[in-house]
Symmetry: C2
Subunit: 440 residues, 2 copies
């Protein structure tokens, strides 16, 4: 932020100061700071003069922690968050209850994750029959089918290859499906929490296929997991040769069990379910295999009762995470923050509207802005106190503009169990500052 | 990697294939994959033809995990690493045993952290009298001294400011101090593990000082923690107005208790101990306060028996993390990997030598390369099987070249308890592939 912009901002803040006692209204149990950034009173600090202390002397109250012997780390243990942050955790959907006991998902609290790194302990996951407990010493990857030299690789083999490390987002094809036409989910964790981002480490699939001597006539590959659902998908060879990775690490450590330990496929920018977890084989052929995930699941209804079989790419999308559903804001300064991402490239721009899309203003993008990675946007807003509707809209590096739901309905049928929702998503702000789902 | 480079690499690998059974020799208990990337046999996959399977048919062995109902996540809990990775954890120094029970540190296993994100559960920490358990609802930051308008800010106030999120490394001034002239520590976790990196979120200190109306005559500020040691340091105002942040989040979640929860100072590129944790006050004045950390600790011995009081900046430094002490490598292809960083800017280049510094070759830098952040470097090495000494050397964006210890000795005294070690650090590789500390 430039100096004159900062001065303007401070001016906005100070001109709108009100000494309001916070009325903290939170959806899920004990609050955490980040979820409630905007739920707090505008009564102190930059936001007001009323709480400026009588701290004119050096005689400051000494907190108890300055007088009490501190805690010792449990040395040589893996660290955990503060007990005061126990509210920040993955959650199920409140709306879509899956009756199959072992087929479920957990959603990331994206209202509480600043920056572009999703902590591994909060990374979203979805599985079709539980997640397996795989001893990496016994795990093997087989590469076969239309190859000159079939391979069986152990994990020890795979980690000896030269490494590639990249930031990429991961998004479930079903992210947002509860809220196409009617407001159902209450929080952004439940509308958009099947979304996370990590720095991944692994080996390009192209190297492995090269080594196996892939037949030039091969056009499709199958990737299959070692889990109890035997989840598998057919993948066009072009993607496999482009930027697909075999990954074994995320965010500086080995994959978590629910995210594919010890090995998963990563297809950057594509729907999460094709990035097969617990990967045990890749087979080359000349046509797709008609997997359950390509017939009963992950297909899109089209006009005229037809269904589209493959919708791999997660197209450009954005959502405001702060303020978002379940929060309460105060008049005056509020920073609007959110994520934007595109399976087709970088985010070029994000616009924000505070009047439901009538007028748009440019948001700031936070560096680094990376291809097929979450990008943070920010917008300084002075809320005047009346009803408002806040919504974001992104443009990616191909020039594609995030569509409205009405735009999407021109080319697709929005009926039943519809995936691949990348429409604009508004939040309503009521006169008393309550933020709620603004769909419909 | 370009196509012709990949082909060259595959050629190197294939021409050096040996079907050697791994002799896994690891320092700390059960192995993890990443620590032992180079300790595995070169007997399969890209590294050899001997393990290529009889996988010619589609009849592949079905692993038990495909036939057994999987685990369910403990929903709404915070995730943890696989039980097979329990070896990857923070550790004390084996060499430098601190007799003060509550003054200690834990070191990051940087041989096991690919990429530039250190998982928060593995982030290094150092404290002087334990770490406090602070309820964020009761924590306050006081800004006083030479300011027009003293401030008392609650955490709720602080998180309402516009946010700034940045990647920065954090390094203890004492990182490497056990191994200036004699090889003592066995692993890179113990020689260089007081080093981590995160994406931090907070508020520029300059905004807070601006709001408090900092006196133009103020030249130094004090920052003090709310821990039982009352650790505090004097900080020049120029740094505070440049890039200093008040941070409350790291890597997508609130600070961990041992890393300053709920609020710490962050002075990018400076020695870790000035980035005061559990921050409770900032006071403006006209001279340094002669803190214990500026007299009994964190000072540098100089020639002639004098001591230098302030050595804030962590100057450009690099270290090879793979292979490193305690690992065992096999003849043929080995990827040399490591970190480079500079408190003065970006990393411009890293060179690697495999003959103890006689000849140098350019390593590849992995994107993103960010100011005052860890940068990953990689170098493809064909080990011929004889004794070798591997070492890295970096150049930062100011043109500064990482010095040898002999270079440093020309201007500083290396005696006693010497901090701020940024000298070149070699690892010896013996004829049988054992990797050991190469100092002295």
């Amino acid at each position: 932020m430039k100096q004159h912009e900062k001065e303007q901002l401070l001016q906005i803040v100070k001109s709108s100061e009100k000494d309001i006692q916070a009325d903290i209204s939170i959806t899920h149990g004990r609050r955490s700071f980040l979820r409630n950034t905007v739920a707090m009173a505008g009564s102190a600090g930059m936001l007001g003069a009323s709480a400026l202390a009588n701290a004119q002397s050096d005689v400051l109250p000494i907190p108890e922690s300055n007088k009490t012997m501190g805690n010792q780390l449990k040395f040589e243990s893996y660290g955990v968050p503060s007990k005061y942050e126990s509210n920040v955790k993955r959650r199920r959907s409140d709306i879509l209850v899956n009756k199959q006991q072992f087929s479920d998902w957990s959603m990331t609290p994206i209202q509480s994750t600043p920056g572009i790194v999703t902590p591994n302990g909060l990374f979203y996951e979805r599985h079709h029959n539980g997640f397996p407990d795989i001893d990496p010493d016994h795990h093997k990857l087989v590469v076969h089918g239309m190859v000159a030299k079939p391979l069986v690789l152990t994990m020890n083999d795979i980690v000896r290859y030269p490494t590639v490390t990249k930031f990429y987002f991961m998004e479930c094809s079903g992210n947002g499906l509860t809220d196409w036409l009617t407001a159902k989910s209450k929080t952004v964790q439940q509308t958009h929490g099947l979304l996370s981002c990590a720095q991944w480490t692994g080996v390009p699939v192209s190297w492995i296929l090269d080594e196996a001597g892939i037949d030039p006539k091969a056009t499709w590959l199958i990737a299959e997991g070692a889990d109890a659902s035997g989840h598998f998908r057919s993948i066009p060879i072009d993607k496999m040769l482009d930027d697909a990775l075999l990954v074994y690490a995320m965010n500086g450590e080995m994959l978590r069990p629910e995210n594919g330990y010890p090995l998963r496929l990563l297809l950057p920018g594509w729907e999460g379910n094709v990035s097969i977890k617990w990967l045990r084989r890749i087979k080359a052929g000349t046509e797709p295999w008609h997997a359950r995930g390509e017939t009963a699941r992950y297909t899109d209804p089209m006009p005229g009762g037809k269904w589209r079989k493959f919708s791999f790419v997660m197209e450009a999308k954005s959502v405001i995470t702060n303020p978002s559903g379940g929060m309460q804001i105060q008049p005056g300064f509020n920073e609007i923050r959110g994520y934007a991402w595109s399976g087709n490239g970088k985010i070029n721009a994000v616009d924000v509207s505070v009047d439901g899309g009538k007028n748009w203003q440019t948001a700031e993008l936070e560096e680094p802005v990376i291809d097929k990675c979450l990008t943070r946007f920010k917008f300084n807003w002075k809320w005047q106190g009346g009803p408002a509707q806040i919504v974001s809209r992104c443009v990616d590096s191909t020039g594609y503009v995030q569509p409205t739901v009405a735009d999407i309905q021109k080319v697709r049928a929005i009926t039943g169990f519809v995936q691949h929702h990348n429409g604009l998503f508004p939040w309503n702000v009521s006169s008393n500052g309550e933020v709620t789902n603004g769909i419909g």
